[in-house]
Amino acid sequence: MKGKDNPQLKLAFKTDPLDISKAGEVSTRVRRELQKLNICPEVTRKVSIICFEGEMNIALHAEKGGTVVIEVWSEKIDILFEDSGPGIKDINLALLPGYSTAPQWAIELGFGAGMGLYNMQRNSDFFEISSEPGKGTRVYSRVSRFKCREESINEPKKSC
């Protein structure tokens, strides 16, 4: 049996605090790495979306920024976001599509539609969020690699 002690790939990033213009850089980088590994487009897209929304949340709310860690295993991809931002008072509310706590400056720029956590959750096969107001938030998402659908005939077969 092949050992499962080490992920195929591990990426860790620190994100800049409250810098909207940089938010998304991690997801772009992660996407490239997944493509290099020949991960199929569907899983790559899900992971990229989860990364993007997670980064965006940190950029919108966490004054000191946060960290994003991605681990690619043979059967799954783990994504972990942590920040020491303001935390979430009511997680159930925050998970509802359209519920937004984005600051005014962000809303004016077209962010903060309140779909972030919802989009992360629906792209995940396993999703867990814990938060303590005043201390910070931790979001863990897992995307299974077994869910790849049939690729179109014209595309080279990619592993998943």
Partner: protein, 113 residues
Amino acid sequence: MNLKNLVKELNLQLLHPEANLEREVTGGYVSDLLSDVIANAPEGSIWITIQKHSNIIAVAVLKSLAGIILTGKIMPEKETLEKARKERIPLISSQDNSFITAGKIYKLFSQNK
């Protein structure tokens, strides 16, 4: 055409009864950016959006819009509905997304010319 006809023609759903439907609709405006609506929406146009928080009512009043259509089956927040009733701003729901809703309304207006 007036709002009543528009709602009827497109089979839209009125979200509350306290609205002036005889109002003439001058055109359509699609935008989810409040600052854009405030700057550019023509008076008397019907606003097509997915924004559902209560700020939209104040914007509709400010710009004298004919009403607001929430698209993609999005439902307004409780406060939004209350404000809409109070201000008598027509709040309408469309099952289609903004692109289709706009397309259909545009077509209606073109046919009416």
